[in-house]
Symmetry: C2
Subunit: 197 residues, 2 copies
DNA sequence: TGCAGCATGTAATTTGTTACATGATTAA
DNA sequence: TTAATCATGTAACAAATTACATGCTGCA
């Protein structure tokens, strides 16, 4: 599955311009299938060339022209087939986890910073998804509710894992849940990795 | 960050061949940074060309020759810098979620199948990570423990979310927000997470 | 006899990202 | 006046996947 197919799927739900699709990618899809204009516009051109979508140009007053794409029967068919086929892939690629794996190559304060930054980012993600959900009111389709809820649940789980396990990496002395280390000094933190790097 | 950098990082922890590195990617890294031979071998060649690693060929009896790569000072330096820099990216791309978003385009039994398959896959993932963890005994470095634990925690959270919310998509009676099916002893619905982290 | 493991790589292709290129309107 | 929103695209580049290509050993 690629972004082209996803564009096709979105057009099954209603006609839209490339710009419109981008907004959908930014809101509902961002946390599990991001895409930019650089992928979307060529996709639409390609779909149109294959007869899977139709395009009609609309002039607008005081706004640039827009090209509105609508699905064709062949397109709807093609999407259904694409959706059916193949065992779905679920791929994660995380530089945060790479950094954590190599935590002993980072300076302690940089590590702390990363963990905090990650945690904060996750919190913002939950907030973001929350407001998207509210934006739908009560009319959000089941699929939308499912994926938004998923995003929130997982972001929350990640944040919680970080909270509960960060001291595994930061090497706080006798750190127990609830006891916070004072930083700033960073002297005593016995970090046992080769000093001359 | 790319696979080349990750190879460099792994070589910081000890010398290895491309084949060895692949095994590490298969075990510890698979759930957050997968890579195949097609990425690893060219990476090593490139790192060697740049003087970031050294290579020595070792003849073996009854086995193919192997090329063992070891990090150089420049390489260690380069890795540390790569690790420091940039706000880390954490990217998910899930065809499962795409399928769930478009659930109404799937035939009910195919949907059920996908949900079950996904759930099962997640369970296998946890089992896999568990056995990797056990393979380390007690000597697993903190970074390794952190990333393996992370993988398990998140896979578990996803499985739980699916359990608790699958009826949102499958249209089982009682899937309305007010009327959710209660599962024995199960925690609060992952759908209603506190925004504050 | 056949398959899994050991061990290396290349080349073509696919895919997506980034930077570039343009330009009007509207709200702060 | 500055920035954001609307709106479209292309071209160069980066990165990773897939298929191809080889061949021996040991086990069941």
């Amino acid at each position: 599955m690629d972004i082209k197919t996803l564009c096709l799927g979105l057009l099954c739900k209603g006609e839209a311009s490339g710009y419109d699709l981008k907004k959908q990618f930014e809101s509902t899809f961002k946390h599990f299938y991001p895409a930019g204009y650089g992928s979307i516009y060529p996709s639409l051109a390609d779909l149109a060339a294959k007869g899977l979508v139709n395009c009609r140009e609309m002039a607008q007053e005081k706004k640039p022209d827009r090209k509105v794409y609508s699905i064709t029967d062949a397109g709807r068919q093609a999407f259904k087939e694409a959706l059916q086929e193949a065992d779905p892939e679920h791929k994660l690629r995380s530089e945060y986890l790479v950094a954590m794996y190599f935590a002993d190559f980072l300076e302690p304060q940089r590590l702390e910073q990363m963990l905090s930054g990650w945690h904060e980012t996750l919190g913002n993600g939950v907030t973001r998804l929350d407001s998207i959900e509210k934006g739908f009111g009560n009319d959000a389709p089941a699929g939308t509710r499912f994926v938004l809820g998923f995003g929130k649940a997982i972001a929350h789980a990640m944040a919680q894992y970080i909270e509960e396990n960060r001291d595994m990496l930061t090497g706080t002395e006798g750190s127990r849940p609830g006891e916070r280390s004072r930083e700033t000094g960073s002297t005593a933190s016995a970090n046992n990795i080769e000093t001359r790097l």
